[in-house]
Amino acid sequence: MNTEREYDGNSRNSGKVISFAVGEQEYCVDILSVREIRGWTEATPLPGTPPWVRGVINLRGIILPVIDIRVLLRIGSERPVSREVVMVVDIGDKVSGLLVDKVSDIIDVDPAMVQDVPSSVTGDTSGIISGLIALDGRMIGILNLDSVAEQIMEEAV
């Protein structure tokens, strides 16, 4: 498999990613997709949306939907109290907030570091993770923002 192409699932490829933690797990998105990182403010829930859409918040006058990565990826541990942050990311021509536990660091990614997601990982989440990065004994999943966008545009789950 061509790992380059897999990695391109993030639609942008600068060689640098921002990694973030959700529970015990680590994920990352390309640094060019990230507009800003801000603290969590209570969202206004939207009717008829899947559970992983936490609602909308006011980002300086923009109505910003917030996607709860914990629920989207079905990460089951306890929710940390008031330590959540929202990563504001570009997804296609839209802007969304990703609700995560904390932002960890910026990592230089060599395409050789990227591994395929084993085919045994299937189900709803399979498309959302487009690759795995092995680093210092950690595993960092590459979040495929385009796939998140597809999930948003699908009918409410």
């Binding site: 109505i63 629920v71 409410a156």
Partner: protein, 650 residues
Amino acid sequence: MDDLDSIRPIFFEECAEQLTELERALARLENGEADHDTVNAAFRAVHSIKGGAGSFGMTELVRFAHIFETALDLLRSGKITPAPSVLQIFLHATDVLSDLTAAEQGGPAADPQRTEECGKMLEALSAMPEAEPAQKSEDPAEATPEADDGVPDGFMPVRFEFEEDLSDPQNIPELSEGFEIFSDSPASGNMPHAEAEPPAEMAKSVRSESPCETKTPVLSGPVSKAPVVPVTAPPASIRVDVARIDRVMDLVGELVIGQSALREAFDKNALSIPGESDSSTLSDAMNAIGQLTRDIQDAVMAVRAQPLRTVFQRMQRVVRETSLIAKKRVHLITEGEDTEVDRTLIERLTDPLTHMLRNAIDHGIEPEEKRIAAGKPAEGTITLSAAHRSGRIVITIKDDGGGINRERVRAIAEKKGIISPDANLSDADVDNLIFAPGFSTSETVTDLSGRGVGMDVVKQAIQDLGGRVSIQSEAGKGSDFILSLPLTLAVMDGMLVTAAGQVLILPVSCIVETMMIDRKNIFPVADDMPLMCVRGSFIPMIEIGSALGFSSVSKNWSDKVVLIVEDDDGRTTALVADSIDGQMQIVIKAIETNYRPIAGVSAATILGSGQVALILDVPAVIAGAGKPADISWVKQTGIPSEMAAAESMI
């Protein structure tokens, strides 16, 4: 070439304006207002388009505009009279010119055969027997802006005498080798100074022509004969990128939100401020800022406002072409075209109006024989009028046709299964059937109705703009279609309510009345659809919180409030909320900009607290609650709470 590319959009914008001017002038001529200013306006419009098109090397457009201009010049110089037959050709030529412009702009290519035919007709005008040289020479006021006295200030008109007629550059073959020439009207025989301008000057030149014109009587003739024309320079104007105005609009929206946040904080803390005088000074200042904020908002809205003229003028063509296809003679009268509305609205009104006019000609206006038999003038009249009425804009399309044939409408609705044969419908109900999806009174697919758009689409389009459509029809006399629209799509008056812990906003325009709930007036019906008795009539009750899925259906009605709302069809529903928190002007923000449309919610806004509040789509909430099959979204929990998260983990 980059410079030219950057002003191309300006050129097309100006073309649109000039075409509007042209239509307007021709319409005036048609109504017998054949003064020279009007003829000049038409001539100038075509001339400007030609000049601009030449700069961009749009040869097709230049060629046609030139023929058109030549023909208009005949009219200007009194060689032909503005007879109906001549005006028909001019109107036809306007359409062709408009098509050619659209084609240059990247639209569909204009029909070359039509262009050719129209060009021939225009050229044939010059072969017509010369009319009496009209009063032209006696009236100095009609001297054209291109005439020698029409130069801008600071320029001295100098006339050169040439042996040959060099005013037509085509007579100078040497010139065409080195330069790109677009020709001026040979008949006008004056200095082609206007065309020599660099294209960047185009906007200026167009603007500067009018004041020149008003100066002509002073320079060129006996003042005694000329009517005293007050020098009315057109108001100075600049072109601004729409995005910049939208940005100002957004900022003003933020200002409104910030101001209401200040107000909220002040009201909360007012009591704790020591010293009464401080408090009242602060309060006065707050009120002043509040007033200013509102004034600024109005001023920005005024910047975005545009007269409806552009849309209305376009409708002349629609009527012209449709009546040709329908083989009916129809005259369109427009009224109130100076009525201003937000530009977003203008763009989205064209399609619904086009379709309603086609409908009026196709179905409203009767064939000529029938009209004569009914004692009506052979030519049908449609009046398109606009007016401001209590904070909304009302557009009326009135035809003097046969009115809605209610028996036929009913029969078709029954045949198509829209209503059951035994339905008991009032006249108004029957009239409204033409808006029902899948209804089309045209039994044979004609050129007009074969376009695959029904009146239901028109209604939907108007509703999407926050508007309503109603019909008044009288058999044998005609029908009125009345559109009522909000002035803007950017702000609205909203009623703040709390339901299931969420602040929600209802458009004030749909609220009929509000009241406290009274248990005695609630009558449950079998399937959990309680009815409420309001002054003797039973209306359905919908709990806002549960309809949106924010809470489960509660049977506890105590301490709740009721908002009686009316949907576009005039049906009333009682919406139940926990409390009403006041009324405020809100700035509408689309949710689909960054997410996707949500059933039951039309948009969102930002409250003074910075919190996002959802604006309820009242008709959708009512429809959703009435049809259990359609409310899959209602059953879901909209709150991704810990519970929802826990469920999805399983």
